[in-house]
Amino acid sequence: MVQEKLMLYQNMLFIRRFEEKLTELCKIEGKLPGMVILCTGQEAVAAGVCGALEKEDVIISNHRSHGHLLAKGADANALMAEIFGKVTGCNKGKSGTLHIAVPEVNALCTTTVVGGGIPIAVGTAFAQQYKKSKAVTVCFFGDGSADEGSFHESLNMAALWDLPVIFVCENNVYSGAQRMEEHTKVKDIALRAQGYGMPGVVVDGNDAEAVLKATAEARERCLAGEGPTLIECKTYRWRGHGEADHQAYQPKDEIAMWMERCPIKKIEKELLSEGVISREDITALEDSIAIIVEDAVRFAEESPLPDPEEALDDVYI
């Protein structure tokens, strides 16, 4: 358990620093093409969920994917290079930050169509059931996505067929500039699970251990043939929807309140007080993370852009 907790801490810290670097890079005009969408403040969901998974387990991610991918074990260099649009990126620069797939770690589909990944997760879970493999699928999506029709059709089908899939709703209070209460009347997305005949669980999305535990339980249910679970992780988006968002609509004190509840600080404090790590350990960890992140940036910067004609590749097999 101590090992697990430490791992969660390390993973979260890595995600945080990786994305902070992106925030920095975004400020340099022309450095990063396209939109950059970060999960700063929500790291406990990515780390907690993936902490309960095995390598063969599949994740289906969305526009806010970096945390999920890194927690699942994606290579930081290839990820950074993809965000830069370089040919050495996970997807040769075809995808960019919004739909990075990392099949090597079974992050099989990342889609930026809100709700679009949910039916696909039904498909991968179906394949897992069909092949009788001892693996499950996790599908990450936001609170806003739970209003899409695809959410409904997918959860109904997954429950009907007892598919080994865990639906993880990362409720970060906002869908774009819209607060939860502006897009639905219910307080908990997890409530909807009843309408499909599956369990719905609410967890503190800033408590990585709680997230891990809920995921592990859901995974057990999946593997026991008892079907899917909907887990709603209550968390918060510290930054805007994307880095270009000025967050005019997010109350300052709300952000401050949630920053107080930082998932990393929480676990760090516990690890310190439990004597698992020392301040020096943290410094050493920070240093090693900084090196990996700097390396990733260097790798990305030094990598070439794809040749224009490469646009024609990879449409068909």
Binding site: S95, T111, A125, A127, Y130, S154, N156, D314, I317
Partner: protein
């Protein structure tokens, strides 16, 4: 050779591929137990042979059905899913167009999505415009998809087998008007390559490019015109994407005249693509205007005389051909 309908030919292709490859499974609305268990329907009897683990009757949830195919295929299964009627393609279109067609590209070529979406289509059965609306042009405008639309039972069998074995997503349109009339179909395990058009009738005077159910209309017109000394070459596209440009160009080079015939409505139909191809790559061979014979730009009406007015027929084709041949 066996005499079977296109519905039965599709059934055979499905059954044979399922026997051959355990990774092939079917999903769709009413594909197991149907409301009318007719032996000429494409999925008749398959539940009985392959059981409910491989023949999945689904809820009425088109987006989830298509997504099921996307997800299952990326893990190596070979899903064949059904869209009951072409207008409901809309409901599955995000999964088919934004996901099935694009995710391989987005992966930088790392993943593949070997799935087939069978779409039942065609007017003529009195169900109105929310059941009848030929939208093959939509699919053919989406790079990453292959689009197949057979006009004979024999082609349907061979092309569907190719589609199932193809590692790319294939949208396979089946005109229901062809489900009921028997024709010759080889009994053995054969495939017909995707992307290859077929000269169904050679001719000297005019090329008719067509596909799907309209092939029959083309034959009727050709027979009538032949009596008047006009010899029509009928080129059955069979695949819309990738398009067999060579075949179109070659035929136009030979005849110098082109009429395109399709059941879909005119404006924005795939006939435009064929005309554009000829007007560019075969321009110097064209001896006359390129004509299109299509449905008018209206939704499919219900009442029989209206619906018959909608569907292109041999008289309209003959008239178009004569307008450029004589």
């Amino acid at each position: 050779m066996q005499q079977i309908t296109m519905g039965q030919a599709i059934q055979q292709a499905l059954a044979e591929e399922m026997r051959r490859d355990a990774s092939v499974f079917l999903a769709g609305e009413g594909i197991g137990v149907g409301i009318h268990e007719s032996p000429v329907m494409p999925t008749f009897g398959l539940l009985r042979e392959f059981g409910p683990a491989r023949v999945k009757d689904t809820p009425v949830s088109e987006a989830a059905i298509a997504g099921l195919a996307v997800g299952a295929s990326v893990l190596g299964l070979r899903p064949v899913v059904e869209v009951m009627f072409n207008p409901f393609f809309t409901l599955a279109s995000d999964q088919i167009v934004n996901h099935a067609a694009k995710l391989r590209y987005l992966s930088g070529g790392k993943s593949s999505f070997p799935l087939v979406v069978r779409v039942k289509t065609g007017a003529g059965f009195g169900a109105g415009c929310q059941h009848s609306h030929n939208l093959e042009a939509w699919a053919a405008h989406c790079p990453g998809l292959k689009v197949v639309m057979p006009g004979t039972a024999a082609d349907a069998k061979g092309l569907l087998k190719s589609a199932i074995r193809d590692d790319n997503p294939v949208v396979f349109f089946e005109d229901m008007g062809l489900f009921f009339f028997p024709s010759s179909v080889p009994e053995d395990d054969y495939t017909i390559p995707i992307g290859v058009a077929d000269i169904k009738r050679p001719g000297r005077d005019v090329t008719v490019v067509t596909w799907s159910k309209m092939l029959g209309v083309a034959f009727k017109a050709a027979a009538a015109l032949s009596k008047e000394g006009i010899e029509t070459e009928i080129l059955d596209l069979r695949t819309l994407l990738p398009l067999d440009k060579e075949a179109v160009i070659k035929s136009v080079q030979k005849t110098g005249r082109l009429v395109i015939l399709h059941e879909a409505t005119r404006t924005g139909g795939f006939g435009g693509e064929i005309a554009a191809l000829a007007a560019d790559d075969a321009f110097s061979y064209l001896k006359a205007p390129v004509k299109r014979v299509t449905a008018p730009d209206i939704p499919v009406p219900f009442s029989p005389p209206l619906e018959q007015f909608y569907i292109p027929n041999e008289n309209k084709l003959i008239e178009a051909i004569k307008s450029i041949v004589l």
